[in-house]
């Protein structure tokens, strides 16, 4: 049923429909509305779930780790500094192969303190072994939660997942969202079947110590599971499409890319602005298209290569910066296109919540056409 909902509330409703058995979270702007809504649902008994209040994000994800190891479907949500505080636990969750789903309401990292949006937080956990899915709008943010559980809990995958969506731009914005019913959600996502669990009658330990003879092999196994998850994502997307008609089968989404000279690559809510800007540029006779990255981990290199091989240039919009190198998305795109001669230009953009408008996208494209790139877009040199 189509409803006008705040992004956070739509996500909370979707999480409720996934029937988590344990939630542990610590409130942090701009994630707070999600966990407040879920706490309300638990308090009024509309969600049968253990809600563990904790004193920090480190404890939140540690409680989730234990609950998941004990065989529960588990949910958490965080952002920015909160995610930074979870760093150690994130690696442990992935290494113990616990399929926790966590919403990341993307926000910049301090210092300087900023509560506004960019994607530095989740990008900084790039190498942790968590699946990373990025949503363009509240509908996608909502739907990706059902899909994330399905992929994460697959016994052939067993990896945790971030569902990332931009703080404030999506989380605090009201948009029409088509919510599936609880009955439909139950059909799509059956009860969690743990692969193995903590049980005092049949003891087992997780995340045991590995000597140099074994550690490398454990990392290899996680990497293999990551790579296998691409096919499981496609299958979960196909099932979702067949049941609900919304299409998330592909790890990338192409928009007017077929005959494009300039391809823009982006992730998250900025893709909506880019699509509108592309429509205007197309009306003015410029052949511009968009390649949206939906799954950043695993990174869909083959799909990127096939989608971008015909273009004259690629302009990557990075809402993050690997300081001393480039934006994380541009590095992946360059890797995927290695040897193809297609120039890839990187634009560090919208950090710390700097607004991006259609005219900015037009300017990026003009820059790319002139071969000007690998820069911080919109840099206010007068304050430097």
């Amino acid at each position: 049923m189509m409803e006008i909902m705040e992004g956070s509330h739509a996500v909370a409703e979707a999480v409720k429909q996934c029937r988590p058995e344990v939630i542990a979270a610590y409130p942090i702007t701009p994630q707070t509305h999600i966990v407040e809504a879920l706490a309300d649902m638990v308090a009024d008994c509309s969600l049968d779930c253990e809600y563990i209040t904790v004193e920090s994000e480190f404890s939140a994800l540690s409680a989730c780790l234990g609950a998941s190891a004990a065989g529960s479907r588990v949910y958490s949500a965080t952002t920015s500094q909160g995610l930074a505080l979870m760093f150690e636990v994130c690696y442990n969750v992935a290494g113990m192969r616990l399929p926790i789903v966590m919403s990341i309401v993307n926000r910049s990292l301090g210092a300087p303190l900023s509560i506004w949006n960019d994607q530095q937080d989740s990008i900084s956990l790039r190498d942790s072994g968590w699946l990373q899915y990025y949503a363009e709008d509240n509908q996608e943010a909502t739907d990706l939660h059902y899909i994330a559980y399905k992929v994460a809990e697959d016994h052939n995958i067993l990896l945790p997942a971030f569902v990332c969506f931009d703080g404030f731009i999506l989380s605090h914005t009201y948009e029409p969202v088509d919510m599936i019913t609880q009955e439909q959600a139950d059909r799509y996502l059956p009860a969690f079947k743990p692969y193995q669990k903590l049980d005092c009658r049949d003891p087992i330990s997780f995340g045991m110590y590995a000597t140099p003879d074994y550690y490398l092999e454990f990392r290899y196994e996680i990497d293999q599971a990551m790579k296998r998850s691409a096919a499981v994502f496609e299958k979960a997307g196909k099932e979702f499409f067949e049941m609900f008609g919304r299409d998330y089968r592909s790890p990338v989404e192409e928009y007017r890319l077929d005959d494009a000279d300039t391809a823009i690559v982006a992730m998250g809510s900025i893709c909506g602005t880019v699509k509108d800007a592309i429509d205007e540029m197309r009306d003015a006779g410029k052949k511009v298209g968009l390649l949206k990255i939906r799954t950043f981990r695993p990174f869909p290199s083959a799909e990127v290569k096939s989608a971008l091989s015909g273009v004259s240039r690629v302009a990557v919009l990075d809402k993050n910066i690997s300081l001393g190198a480039k934006g994380a998305v541009a590095l992946e795109i360059k890797d995927a296109l290695y040897g193809s001669q297609v120039p890839v230009l990187d634009y560090i953009i919208a950090l710390g919540g700097r607004d991006v408008r259609r005219k900015d996208i037009r300017e990026v494209v003009s820059n790319a056409e002139a071969g000007i790139g690998d820069l911080f877009y919109g840099l206010r040199t007068e304050v430097l």
Binding site: G95, M96, R97, L98, L158, Y195, Q196, P203, I204, S205, F206, G207, M208, Y209, A210, T211, Y214, E217, F218, E221
Partner: protein, 86 residues
């Protein structure tokens, strides 16, 4: 050993891991000097010294890491740490 998913393991795996191979210095026990006080077997952090029927200490070199605490604490100086040739 096949890898357990998530590096999981059933109980008892520590027994398979013979940590004695980490040892550089090996404690040698002089039963002539030993007063049978039982201090070494009590304080061994690995729990790998047992007292035999006569109260004399018997080390399990499969698990002794050679930390030297027993030699340091022995009131009779009956334990000597000797570098081990491997």
């Amino acid at each position: 050993m096949a890898l357990g998913v998530g590096c999981s393991a059933r109980p008892g795996k520590a027994r398979d891991n013979k940590t004695g191979s980490w040892r550089v210095f090996k404690p040698e026990f002089d039963h002539e000097k030993c007063s049978r006080c039982g201090l070494c077997s009590t304080i061994c952090p690995e729990g790998c010294i047992r007292d035999d029927e006569e109260g004399l200490p018997v080390p399990d070199y499969d698990y002794c890491k050679g930390c030297g605490i027993c030699a340091e604490e022995c009131p009779s100086d009956a334990i000597t740490m000797k570098q081990e040739e491997k």
